[in-house]
Each structure stands twice: as C-alpha cells, then as structure tokens.
Subunit: 269 residues, 2 copies
C-alpha cells in the first residue's frame, strides 16, 4: 500500500475574501488539510498594478511552498487574472486559479449563450474573463460590469438592506437588460451578496460562485495526481496573515462559515 | 536682503485623498511649490496595523526630505493618528498633521460644546481625535462614527444620489440625535461628500474640512520660521506615486480641483 500523502493544500488571497473559497474546499474536500495565507498587509490587490500583483503573488506562493503544500489555489480574482500563468510555469506543484473553473461552469450552464461577469475594476480591466470565455466559446455574448461598492458592503455586513439593493440595482441595471441566463460572481466577496444579486437579477439567472467549481476541479486534479488524502478525517485549517484588519474575526467568520481560530501573524517579504 | 527660501512643501498620503488637502494649500498658499507623494502601492493605510502605518509614513517622509522639503504635511488621517509624533521627533523640519488643526478649529467654532467626528475605523480606533479633543476641552461632549462606505462612494463619484444619501443617513442617524453643532470630516475623502453630509446633518451643524485650518496653520508656521515664499508666483505642483490605480486621473482631478499633470512613478522602499 502506498504512503498516504500528508501534504496540505495552499490557498492565498490579498485579504479575507478567499475564505469563501476555503469554505467550499472544506465542504467538498473535508479530509484535506488547508493552509490559508491572507496577505492583509498589502490588500487590496485590486487597486495595484499588474507588476505589483505578480510580485506579491510570488511571495505568497513561495511562503506556502516552503510549508510543503502539494497544490496551490489562487483564491483572489486579481491575482488569478495576472499571476496564474507565471505561477503555473514557475512552481513544481499544480496551480489552480478561480477564473477558469467559473468560466467552464458558466459555459456548461448557459442555454442562451448570454453570460454576465461582475468583478472589481482591476479584474475586468485585465480582460482575463473575456479572454477565457472567448477562447472557449467565441460565439457567445459576454457582458461585464465592475461593482466596487460590493466589497465594503460585504465587509460591513450590509447584505440585504435598502443600500445593498440600491447599489445592486444601480450596478446590475444595465446587465439585467441584456437577457443573460448566467452570471459569474468574479470576486470572492460577492457570494455574501448572493441574495440581493439574485433578487435583482431574477430567478431565471443562475449565479456562479467560483468557489464551488474550483473545489470540484481541485478534487479531480488531486485524484488524477494520486495525491488526494484517502481517509475520512476532519482535517486542520491553518490561517496565516501578514497583518490584521478591523473586525478581523467578524468578517473572517462570516466569509469562512465557521469559527476562525489561531490566525498566526507572519512576515512575507 | 535675505535669500528667498526656494524649498518646497512636502505632502504625503496613502492615496489620492490627500489631494483635497493640496487643493486648499494651493488656494491659500499659491506661491509655495508643493511635492505630493501618494503611496498608492500600499493603500489604504486605514486597514493596516499601527506598526505598518508608521513604517510606511517614515519611508514617505524620508523620500520627501531627500527632495529638499522645508515642511511636511501628513495629509492622511490614519498616518496623522499614529505617525505624527514620531515623525515630529525624528525629522529636522516642521511636521503638520491634519488632526490638530481640525480639532482646534472645531473647538473654536462650537457653541454648545457637542462635537461629532466621522472617520475610518482605523482613525477612530486609534483614539487620536478623542485624545486631542479631550486634552484641549475635557468638558465638551464628543461623538464618533466610522463611515467606511464614504471612501468608495467618493471614488465612484456617487456624491449626491439616493445611495449616497441612504448611506449618509444610516451612518449619521445616531449622530444627528446627539444635537451636535460641529462635525469634523476626519478623512480626506469626505469633503467630496460635503453636500449629502450637510443635508443629512442640517444647516445648524458646521462641517469642518481639516484641509482649510491645516493650510492656515502651515502658513502661520512658515511665516514664524521665516521660510514663507515671499513673492507672488503660480508655483509648481509635482505629484509622485508609488503605483497607479484605476481611474487615477478622474479621481485625482476631482479631489485636486485642477488638471493632474505629469504624475511620476517612483519607488519608495
């Protein structure tokens, strides 16, 4: 019998948003140990230049690699946009971003081939969703919209009030007129606003939270490499952060969906 | 006749918000050359730890000092909160923050000695407004409120719509019941929302934009040191940034109130 692979999965993000990805990893791969690195000293990545985001992503990846991770998930759309390719080339382990699984899921799901994407300005400006979608299905029509206020709304916990609805209506109004049937939530904060987004868009539009297809894709990838942890257990989750932020526990736990224990402050050059 | 002091005034902030301070410096000290450093690669300071904000502030101050500045304005409330004292002690030039002038102006202005302060979470948590106010007038009553959504609203340019009003009403509702007559805008982004804040608070409440008393205090300080530029001229403004952000020009110009030319990308360790 071969040895059981004990190495953990590494996940990083600029902040706490990536914990919505960890939440689905914990649900769909409960036996895998997870190391999460939140680069809070340098958040948000969304407003940084491409070079700066790449530099930070490499530092985060190196930190997790030193801790023995067997696979890396870039749980940040800004970093997925601009650093995924370079990390895949440089690192000796499988690297997943959150964009490709969401795009594949959206194309598998759509019936009228009219797909929307909402994300930060940086993610949209990077063109990575458009490129990834058009490379797979140039015939479909795509509609993109930046929704920068959704991040502070998620962090304030203003998830279902008049301001959240007003903001969602303002951002999604143009999108609603496009008759899309699938909408990608292209920012890890946005799943917290799923309810208002769903109400504004209506029941006929399916929302894609990239965390779910990302977790399923990772599971398949680990299995194909023979490095899936094969025994039932409730595996550990270790949280590292490069700084703390206000309301760290409240925000972190609302994103993660479980208690956030023992977050450890670390330096990542 | 003594030589004319040619050295510029240095101003720094984590982002572009400090340009609302530069706007008033340009208005009230039009003959002074100004160097502005926006540490955009590390914004926002508001979510960073005290140590991290101090480290960044020292780097910014050193950069401006090397360029020959004769006086330094910390045009960022988070940095003013935690780095003003240490910079005053370490640097060989006069250092002004934006908190002290606002506090002095509020106390000079109030008649009922009930003063409100709105700011980011970090600035309020630092306690610097409370300390500065209570040190000067322990008998007055002070009311503080964090308004984190005001920053993205200012940057989106959503300054007078239903969402801006709804957000202002939600944040300022408790403050309005306190019967204050003076409200300090404790974040450099907030002057852009002066109209909605004013409408929500009512005409009897005077809003203090710290940029104005800061500019007046700097003028008096330069005069007392004999380093005020004594001749009429339209002096230069030089902008340095450590990174660019989305909508750099639109946001920068709306804060500065004039064309934003020749911003230069620099590295600040």
């Amino acid at each position: 019998m071969p040895a059981i692979p004990l190495r953990p999965i590494g996940v990083f993000d600029s902040g706490l948003g990536g914990l919505t990805v960890v939440r689905q990893l914990r649900r769909l791969l409960p036996h895998e140990e997870i190391l999460y690195l939140g680069d809070l000293a340098h958040l948000p990545y969304g407003t940084k230049s491409t070079d700066e985001i790449r530099r930070r992503s490499e530092e985060c990846a190196r930190f997790l690699l030193k801790k023995g991770t067997k696979a890396l998930v870039i749980a940040c759309n800004s970093a997925s946009s601009v650093a995924s390719k370079v990390l895949s080339e440089k690192l000796p382990i499988p690297v997943l971003n959150v964009i490709t699984p969401a795009v594949e899921e959206a194309l598998a799901s759509t019936r009228n081939f009219r797909i929307g994407v909402i994300a930060t300005y940086a993610t949209i400006a990077s063109g990575s969703y458009t490129k990834a979608l058009q490379a797979r299905c140039p015939e479909a029509e795509y509609f993109l919209e930046a929704c920068p206020l959704f991040v502070p709304l998620a962090e304030e916990g203003w998830l279902e009030d008049a301001i959240a609805f007003g903001t969602a209506r303002r951002y999604l109004g143009p999108m609603k007129k496009k008759n899309i049937d699938t909408l990608i939530l292209g920012c890890t904060h946005y799943p917290l606003l799923e309810k208002v987004i769903g109400k504004v868009m209506g029941k006929k539009v399916r929302l894609i939270d990239s965390a779910v297809p990302t977790a399923l894709k990772l599971k398949a990838l680990l299995a194909s490499h023979g490095i899936l942890y094969p025994r039932p257990r409730r595996a550990a989750l270790k949280i590292f952060v490069t700084d703390f932020v206000r309301n760290f526990l409240r925000i972190g736990e609302s994103f993660l969906g479980e208690r956030l224990k023992n977050a450890q402050l670390v330096e990542v050059a």
